[in-house]
Symmetry: C2
Subunit: 141 residues, 2 copies
């Protein structure tokens, strides 16, 4: 199962973006400075976010990024999916030839992992960027 800093940074950056993009596009440099995330790394992350149309880019001077949708329309699922943070548990061995453990049947954990995945995804599908903004409204940067 993967759920790492990349996803965390993506969320942090998007919350930052949501907070500041009311007037102008927000440059990654600003986000980098405010959130303490490496600019080069942010570029990688935003290229993925853009590919999934979570943000739009505006090039040139005074350029930057803006959200493609409203904060309440951007769910955490979308974000994690974009940056390849698959909430995906360890795979059973290739099922092509045999079952999970080399036997003909599914291993005992097979269904369990599926259930867990659903359980976690449910959580992420409910949470939107807006929810996070509300939670942190008092925490000024």
């Amino acid at each position: 199962m993967k759920l790492t800093s990349k996803g965390r940074y993506a969320v942090m950056a998007l919350v930052d973006l949501a907070r500041f993009d009311n007037i102008n596009p927000v440059s990654l440099r600003d986000i980098s400075l405010r959130q303490g995330i490496s600019l080069d790394y942010l570029e990688q992350i935003f290229s993925k976010l853009k590919k999934d149309q979570i943000v739009k880019s505006i090039r040139g001077t005074q350029g930057g990024y803006v959200l493609s949708k409203k904060p309440n329309e951007i769910k955490l699922t979308n974000i994690f999916h974009a940056v390849d943070e698959k909430v995906k548990t360890v795979q059973c061995k290739k099922e092509s030839k045999k079952g999970c453990n080399g036997k003909a049947t599914k291993c005992v954990t097979h269904n369990l992992w599926d259930e867990l995945e659903t359980h976690i995804n449910t959580f992420f599908e409910k949470k939107s960027l807006e929810d996070l903004l509300k939670n942190n409204i008092e925490q000024r940067t």
Copy 2:
């Protein structure tokens, strides 16, 4: 967040154990053969399970492992905890000096990760070894 093969193997092995320890202790060799898990790796895993008193060991010929408690008393939380499968998300940076992101305040994802952790733990606290046994009763090894 970590949730890897070690946890999966631990669960598989314990289900196997629960199924066969009615009469005699079960040797790791048997579990290894039935579940297709390396014996050496199982030894590492069981040493941790023993330390958390999920299983008991019986040495010598005809020795092996038995469950310390009844299957319905062993929750998945206990198992994962024993093998260090912390359902713990990526830590924010050391909080000793500063906040998560080097600022004075918590980062916006801080609470989120906490919530997620609770959400997942809830799932694991409900599930016991017995539940898994029931689910897989038709799947003979």
